[in-house]
């Protein structure tokens, strides 16, 4: 398995019932797929799974895969990402991020 850095972001919309704001955030998130260091991208909504260990309260989940930490650091400073935050941060109430690096696990 190749080394891989996965950046998971969960967004909670300020107004989840506002379809226009939801669509706007979807479109904004998709602009991030074009950042040059992004290797794989996924935009999802909570599945209808429901067990005690599952958090399904978020509005959107963005998964971005990078080759390594440096590529993710470059993404943070990329003009596309900075513009996304400037343009859309007012729509969310909360974001929760998990950065997970396969290169830190032995025997990969």
């Amino acid at each position: 398995m190749p080394t891989r850095f996965i950046h998971n972001v969960f967004f909670w919309l300020k107004n989840p019932a506002n379809a226009g704001e939801a669509k706007a955030l979807e479109a904004g998130i998709r602009t991030l797929f074009d950042v040059s260091t992004v290797q794989d991208a996924h935009l999802g909504k909570p599945a209808p799974t429901d067990r005690s260990v599952i958090d399904n309260t978020y509005s959107y989940h963005l998964m971005l895969a990078f080759n390594n930490l440096d590529d993710q650091t470059a993404y943070q400073g990329d003009p596309i990402h900075l513009k996304f935050v400037d343009d859309y941060a007012h729509l969310w109430e909360r974001v929760q991020v998990y950065d997970s690096d396969a290169g830190l696990v032995s025997d990969n």
Copy 2:
């Protein structure tokens, strides 16, 4: 973008300083990669990123990608998965799951 179901699991070890238990859980998690409906898999540890929105307190992150909800449901009942829970659940203090389906987002 193809429809994709991403099953994210974050594990907090009961004894994170116990290297033997950590290695055992790593090995156990890797057995899950062999479940037939798994399309992509990633095992990572918290990256050295540190912003207020980042949770880096977990021990391991498992990402499993499936083609759809049905394939993930099959995984839950797969003997490999059931054996993993039986054999390793005593090692973790907490798991947090996020199931995210790209098929639920319009215009995918």
